[in-house]
């Protein structure tokens, strides 16, 4: 799965596309792993741009849960932004809004996680 990574100073924005379900979640997990390894205090911050994600199933949510646990253990910062309404509903129902920092847009996510990255994002 291509996450189309974009770097803004100390923050990496990852933009998966399509459905994250039983068929694709393993790919998503493998693609995400190297970024999560570097998502730690003093290293990278990660924003997941979900604008292109149409659907996420419980196995997809599990990947996000494991990523969130890894980030917390490494004292890193992980945010998720720009959820489509269907995905937003899944997050609401499963209360994953309580698990991850959810932002209305990538820009707002950057604003919270790294002001330096925001400056670069706005300049680009």
């Amino acid at each position: 799965m291509d996450l189309r990574p974009k770097r803004y100073v100390d923050t990496v924005v990852l933009s998966p596309v399509g459905r994250i379900d039983h068929a694709t979640s393993e790919d998503f997990k493998i693609a995400l792993a190297p970024y999560m390894t570097r998502c730690a205090e003093g290293q990278d911050r990660v924003v997941l741009d979900f604008a292109g994600v149409e659907y996420i199933s419980s196995v997809g949510l599990r990947v996000l849960m494991l990523a969130s646990k890894q980030a917390k253990a490494q004292r890193g910062s992980l945010g998720i932004a720009a959820l489509q309404p269907a995905v937003r509903e899944i997050f609401d129902i499963s209360r994953f809004t309580m698990v991850l920092d959810v932002f209305p847009s990538v820009r707002e996510g950057l604003a919270r996680l790294s002001p330096k990255a925001l400056a670069t994002f706005d300049a680009a």
Partner: protein, 704 residues
């Protein structure tokens, strides 16, 4: 065990049969090096004969003419042996024509019994007087000797294998030896049979008439042989010597044996034993002149002038006829004429040592090619390769024979390659067979494995389904409750669950959940979650939210896989209709009110799924049910069901359905309506997710 899988076959055919191929090739090379040892000599001779039968030599020059004492001569002049005076006349007639030399292919060991002095022996009644007169006449042998003395005549002598009688001194022919002594190398006879001394001593030369037969066929003739310690020339080369007038013959030897026999400046290359391989032309009447015609003066002198004239007997019944590669019967004298033609035109056949190496090289190269290519190529390619190689070898053999009279044995390398080809074919076949057997076994194993796994999943599913309580028997005799429950697993085993049980006389607990994970791990986690939740509830922890918090801690403790489970639990007091519920990340429950009130989606309270956030403080919500109210709990297998057009069933359709059937007669009718509608919507599209449905109607405190 299949024959191709036996140990010895596998060892022989290992590495695609190449070790076996190389072993066979080595054996074949050994056979090639010593063909006589293995009976291959016959094959080789047959191959050489085939060349000569297929393309016999063509005569270029005609140095030799045969004066044949043939059937016509015997018919005109009477039986053989003739008186030697007649033979003397015949020689004289030949000598008149001034030939280069005369060779007499007749051995006359005894004195002629037809001499005048011996006539009284077979003519009884000859008077004393006549006997005395006859005895004064010269003997026939003396007459012949006189004639022979004046002409360049060579007499034939016969080499004898066994010494038969008193040894006659061989008339010494001078030899000049170049190199080592050839005597031990050449063909050896114990003795020679000469003509009578009176005749024998007057002629200019003596030559051996013997030819060598190999398996009854004349192919070679010694140019020089040994009798005792003496070298003796062959008839043909001696005739040449006398014709040229050379006093000596030369024998040249080298490291490997006799190399050549020469006369004057003509050198004839020989085999190591001083013999030559004759290159035969077909029998040809042109070579012959009848003795009868010669005696009658009917032969043109030019026919014999400056020729090598051979006198021999060809009449049937008298002559020695031999089999040759070019003809089944050829008279001995014609064989000598053929040798003279061979030497004149220098087109004897040869078989240099290098040819033997070339044959071995062809076998080695061809064999290695077969060993390398055959295991890789198709059977057709292998056959084509073999045919191509045999074709090339036969063509090379034919070209060498035609262009330079060199004898290359094409048959034995072809036969050897054929043997190797067949062995490799069998080996390749065995290999293929074994492969097929192994494949078949593998497929069988996979099938068994799949069947076993399917069996295990089937068992797991039965256990999972068996652990679900039956709504009909869960609350026996309790008229206040009407319950429907369904779990439809997707493919083998899924992770959805439901459960319901009594906490005390009035209160009942019901829960529905969905593990984020399918297959065996999901199923096991589901069973563990369900059991832990139930045990937490039955321990009397208290309110529904306290049970949820306790279950979260216990399930998280045994979660090595990092799975999580959504859980919606409710506790209903059947005496009051108070419903307390707590939702851990699950699809909210629906309230289907009795009467005209609208459908309610109870999305409040709760928190994330179990095992997601450590020690999350789950909180409960509560709702009072009215008599006849119904609650409905589902898993996302219902809402996410897919149509053939890849459209999700969705909340809107689901809520519309509940509005429609919510006031139906029983919980089962509502539950079945949901199941049917989802199944109709999916229209055969296989579900990827489990689907669970719980419907509970409270019929009031008394159940009326």
């Amino acid at each position: 065990m299949h024959w191709s899988e036996r140990r010895w076959v596998r060892v022989l055919c290992g590495s695609r049969g190449r070790p076996l191929g190389i072993a066979i090739l080595a054996l074949l090379l050994a056979v090639e090096a010593a063909p006589e040892l293995f009976g291959l000599g016959l094959v080789r001779l047959a191959a050489f004969d085939a060349y000569q039968r297929w393309a016999p030599r063509t005569r270029h020059s005609a140095p030799a003419v045969i004066v044949a004492i043939d059937d016509e001569s015997l018919r005109l002049h009477g039986q053989w042996p003739w008186p030697r005076t007649w033979l003397a006349q015949l020689v004289a007639k030949v000598a008149e024509a001034d030939p280069a030399a005369i060779g007499i292919d007749i051995v006359m060991p005894e004195a002629d019994r037809l001499s005048p002095g011996r006539l009284p022996e077979f003519v009884p009644g000859i008077g004393q007087d006549l006997t005395q007169r006859l005895s004064r006449l010269p003997s026939n042998d003396a007459v012949l000797a006189r004639t022979l003395q004046t002409s360049p005549v060579v007499l034939g002598v016969a080499g004898l294998e066994a010494d038969a009688g008193p040894r006659r001194t061989v008339r010494r022919v001078p030899f000049r030896i170049v190199g080592g002594d050839p005597t031990p190398l050449v063909r050896r006879f114990e003795a020679t049979l000469h003509s009578a001394e009176e005749i024998d001593r007057v002629v200019k030369g003596h030559g051996l008439l013997n030819v060598d037969t190999e398996r009854g066929v004349v192919r070679r003739m010694p140019l020089v042989a040994a009798v005792g310690d003496e070298l003796v020339p062959s008839f043909g080369i001696e005739i040449l010597r006398v014709a040229i007038g050379e006093p000596v013959l030369t024998v040249r030897t080298g490291a490997s044996g006799v190399e050549a026999v020469g006369v004057g400046d003509l050198f004839v290359p020989t085999e190591r034993d001083g013999s030559v391989r004759l290159h035969f032309a077909r029998p040809d009447p042109e070579r012959f002149v009848s003795a009868a015609d010669l005696l009658a003066g009917k032969v043109d002198r030019q026919l014999l002038e400056r020729k090598l004239v051979l006198i021999g007997v060809t009449a049937l019944g008298l002559s020695d006829y031999q089999a040759t590669p070019a003809a089944d019967r050829m008279s001995g004298v014609e064989i000598h004429a053929q040798l003279l033609e061979n030497m004149f035109d220098t087109d004897l056949l040869t078989r240099p040592r290098a040819v033997g190496w070339a044959e071995a090289g062809l076998l080695l190269a061809g064999g290695l090619l077969l060993i390398v290519i055959m295991p890789r190529g198709s059977a057709l390619a292998s056959v084509a390769l073999y045919a191509l190689m045999v074709g090339a070898i036969v063509t090379a053999g034919a070209l060498l024979y035609l262009k330079s009279g060199i004898l290359l044995d094409a048959a034995s390398p072809s036969l050897a390659l054929g043997t190797l080809f067949t062995s490799m074919l069998v080996v390749t076949l065995a290999e293929t067979e074994r492969h097929r057997q192994a494949l078949r076994r593998q497929v069988e194993q996979q099938r068994e494995e799949a069947a076993r796994l399917a069996g295990e999943l089937e068992a797991a599913r039965r256990i999972q389904m068996g652990s679900l309580p039956n709504p009909a028997t869960a609350f026996p005799g309790d008229a206040r409750l009407d319950l429907y429950a369904l779990l439809e697993p997707a493919r083998e085993v899924g992770g959805d669950l439901y459960d319901f049980f009594s906490l005390d006389r009035d209160r009942l607990c019901l829960l529905i959940g969905d593990v984020a994970g399918k297959g065996l791990p999901g199923s096991l986690f589901m069973a563990v979650s369900k059991a832990l939740y139930k045990s937490a509830a039955l321990r009397g922890v208290g309110s529904v939210d306290a049970v949820m918090r306790e279950a979260d801690r216990e399930i998280s403790r045994d979660n090595a896989e990092g799975l999580f489970v959504t859980m919606l639990a409710g506790i209903l007091d059947a005496s009051s209709g108070l419903l307390e519920y707590c939702n851990a990340g699950h699809e909210p429950l629906y309230l289907l009110p009795n009467g005209d009130r609208p459908l309610v989606r109870l999305a409040d309270g709760g928190g994330p799924p179990l095992c997601v956030v450590d020690r999350f403080p789950y909180a409960a919500s509560a709702r009072s049910l009215a008599r006849g109210d119904t609650i409905c709990l589902v898993t996302d297998g219902v809402l996410d069901a897919m149509s053939p057009k890849a459209e999700a069933y969705g909340r809107a359709r689901f809520e519309a359905l509940l509005e429609k059937v919510g006031r139906a007669a029983s919980a089962a009718e509502i539950g079945e309506a949901i199941r049917l509608e989802v199944s109709r919507f999916a229209d055969g599209v296989e579900s990827t997710d489990d689907m669970a449905i719980l419907v509970l109607r409270w019929k009031g405190p008394s159940g009326r």
